[in-house]
Subunit: 288 residues, 4 copies
């Protein structure tokens, strides 16, 4: 029984390779996580265990896919960035997105008992959806990252105030919502401070800034590299010598993947870590 | 800190809605499963536990996504079919594919200990990639399904013979490969029978036919429905009364999802189960 | 000076092959034709010369591209249909659309003096834009054609009434617009008849029905062919013998391309011309 | 007769907006121009009238579409470049490509008698196909332009030698082809000079360099602008004041569109014309 008679169906598969020389961002989101968070009684406004689990899964994804340059997570979403020169899976969109979504899900389920030892999972299980988006310039990519971090800030300030009104102020959900309608950041800061003695600035960085995951090399002096202009000027994946590729690969494997809670909107973050935009591994820091 | 300054980055998201009125097949595949199978010492040529786990995960996916009409699995791959009238997630390709991949992965990891109680998972974890393909006509869809089932047959006959030569015949891998080069099905059947007393026809159906997963209603007499012509003639999602939609939904929820190992190439399978092509739930079989 | 250094830029070209086994409709539209019609003093509500020119250009397109099955034109737009089995230009969207747009434009300019001998063209010149859309089923295709013909009817009834009010009724544009706001077809028919003695049914067919262009073979008895079901059932381009392909090609070349003004919404048009859906040339009518 | 019943067919139209913030190149090509050139007895290796007609049509396209930044033509092909910030037609690919192809065709036919007064066109008429490609960085765009100009050079040197061997050397086509097989540029230069006394460097620039079409402003001193870095750094279409947009529009309208035959591979061309990459109109040169 030869298969040739049916094989024509392969012609219906349509290519989905992403435009070369653009930054690829794969963003994944928890499906129905409001309900899911209730089922497992996630703490409000932030559940530290849930965030740590997200971060651990993201870190595992970055270990398994060294082509990922940087990742950024807030709440139940995570964005993974491939360098514009990346040619993994010939830049096929489905392949990139599903590999990340599946690997992330895999670790999320696997690591769940580590972070929630007392509440084992039961069906329906958590899952994630995702999509890939291309950004042509460094500025576009940085604006994307800034967009997510501003969103983190806006949401966290709102949620912190909202849940303070409910948990400490004894308000009902609808009343709290009504009270916050139309307020500005300054208003919410004021409510937190005057009513509950909370200085928002002192809230944990992980809640205010979200989580940035990347390979850590030695920081450089700002102003010594211009990785952004270099990256923008790039025309195609650099043809390195095999030797150099091997050296880069080893360095990358050696580098620790860190999870930090930093400002990624200002230039400093990017200036001091030129490897993020240049895709050239930096110096491995000396152990201390 | 308003987010309006950065929000323009959303304009880079490109729509990926699949062509209406076409059958959507989402096929997922295990990533690096040859290595994975070795790590967990899967039995050759087929590991019944591994197939049962795949099937259990597929069944869970179909429970969570009632819009899936039928699924078909062999080895480490599974194909999920959405009816041509399906409008789930506005038919966005990424959303459909990632939801299936993630839900499948989720259950695969979660159910692993049920099927492999003695070999717990450890990183690197299993994961799956996937893609969506549109098929315009019933014939195209059925040819796709036939293509997968013929592949199942070809691979299984080859693997059964190959591993018999090694496990029972004491041959090395390369010698077995060499011996089978250029052989036809009849030759392999002959080797199995004359050398090892194996009648391939008596091999378990799950290995020879793969696994079909669908909602089971009462079988109909062949020739009484013409669901294929009806489906092909369909122009757009039928506007049902809200009432009818509710009735259909309840019936679907009541129907048992079954895993069978049948011939899906011949007409009979489809003729007796017109609901697969018509998308109209059949009669719930009486319990026995 | 070898060109290899720059040739990588070809990798940025992205494939745009249309889904196989679907009907391809290329619709083109005049750009800024309201202004253009004023410049050349087109008669209102319909300029027969302008329509004849559109039809002549469409006929020329069909002569140069025998793969086109049928075309339908109203006002300054034309739709060209490729059979679902068509593989011209590997079904590349850009190639199909631009070839039609360019050939149409070419003849439109070239034939202009034939239809407007007294008003030679001057820059800015007329031009057309276009797009390709895929329709999976015969019903979808016929609904597309019906959609355009209903549009023709609605627009023509409105325009006929509007311009009667102005040209014969001496009304201003805004007043005529106001008067027709919210009216139904019956109202417009009534206005035409009672105020101007015009029986809309007696208006020329070309204005009421638009223009259908196709290869004319002998009409068949309705009910003797089921080309629609046959076409829907089709899985892939039929592999004909070279001989049969040659015969078909010759027949097609022999067939006259006709421009008619018929109802293409009802079944009769399609039933009597099964070659339109089957893509098999019919019998060449005897000359009379 | 309302049209709502059929209007669902619009849902089959799929969006084709090109990725924002990338350079759009629309390249058009003559269809079957080898045959066409023979029909009208184009001179070999270059027909000056044919090139002048191509250039006149391209200039007309640029007049009608001020959003085009620069165009480059060789033989029967022309590339039109939209600035990366361009939002014309919401960057819909079909619309951009068909508008250019149609406008070009329109002028090609219309202007034919000006350039070929003694050989009127007759069917089958000339036509063009086209496609759009996105280039993310200035380097990609410039490499695209260089690719075309190198192609021009390679083809012209070959053709000049080939036709010299035939027209002046009395060789047959196949013999000339055979003789040139495997030769380098130096070899061809040598053949031209030693056999026919032709110094290739003295050939007309239009044949050696192709034709560049752009709006002419005052040239700037090289090194005073860095339009490339500025363009690459750009994140999105700059929000200009309405006033500034008006000023730019007027300046653009005032600028003469010139056709030149320059080296566009080296930096100088771009350095002295920063408006090409910045999209900001320069100073209108004083008339002399």
């Amino acid at each position: 029984m030869a298969n040739s008679k049916f094989e024509y169906v392969r012609n219906f598969e349509q290519p989905d390779n992403l435009l070369p020389n653009t930054w690829i961002v794969v963003r994944i989101d928890g499906r129905g996580f409001t309900k899911f968070a209730n089922k497992y009684a996630f703490e409000k406004p932030n559940d530290r265990r849930a965030l740590d689990l997200m971060n651990a899964a993201a870190k595992a994804v970055m270990s398994e896919l060294p082509e990922i340059t940087i990742a950024y997570g807030i709440s139940d979403e995570y964005s993974f960035v491939f360098h514009k020169s990346c040619v993994l899976f010939e830049r096929r969109s489905s392949k990139l997105v599903t590999t990340i979504v599946s690997t992330f899900t895999s670790y999320y389920i696997y690591l769940w008992p580590t972070y929630f030892p007392e509440t084992p999972l039961s069906p329906p299980l958590p899952s994630f959806d995702g999509r890939a988006v291309c950004y042509p310039s460094v500025q576009n990519l940085r604006d994307y990252m800034s967009w997510r971090q501003v969103d983190c800030h806006i949401n966290n300030l709102y949620n912190t105030t909202f849940w303070a009104l409910i948990q400490q102020g004894g308000m009902g959900n609808l009343d709290a919502e009504e009270l916050l309608k139309g307020t500005y950041a300054a208003d919410k800061n004021e409510i937190l401070f005057s009513k509950f003695g909370i200085n928002y600035n002192n809230e944990p960085e992980i809640y205010k800034k979200g989580s940035v995951v990347f390979r850590a090399y030695e920081l450089v002096e700002p102003g010594t590299h211009n990785a952004a202009a270099e990256a923008d000027g790039l025309a195609e994946p650099v043809q390195q010598s095999k030797n150099q590729t091997e050296i880069d690969k080893k360095r990358r494997a050696k580098a620790r993947i860190v999870i930090e809670h930093l400002d990624i909107i200002k230039d400093e973050f990017w200036d001091r870590r030129p490897w993020l935009l240049s895709n050239k591994p930096g110096k491995i820091p000396k152990e201390t």
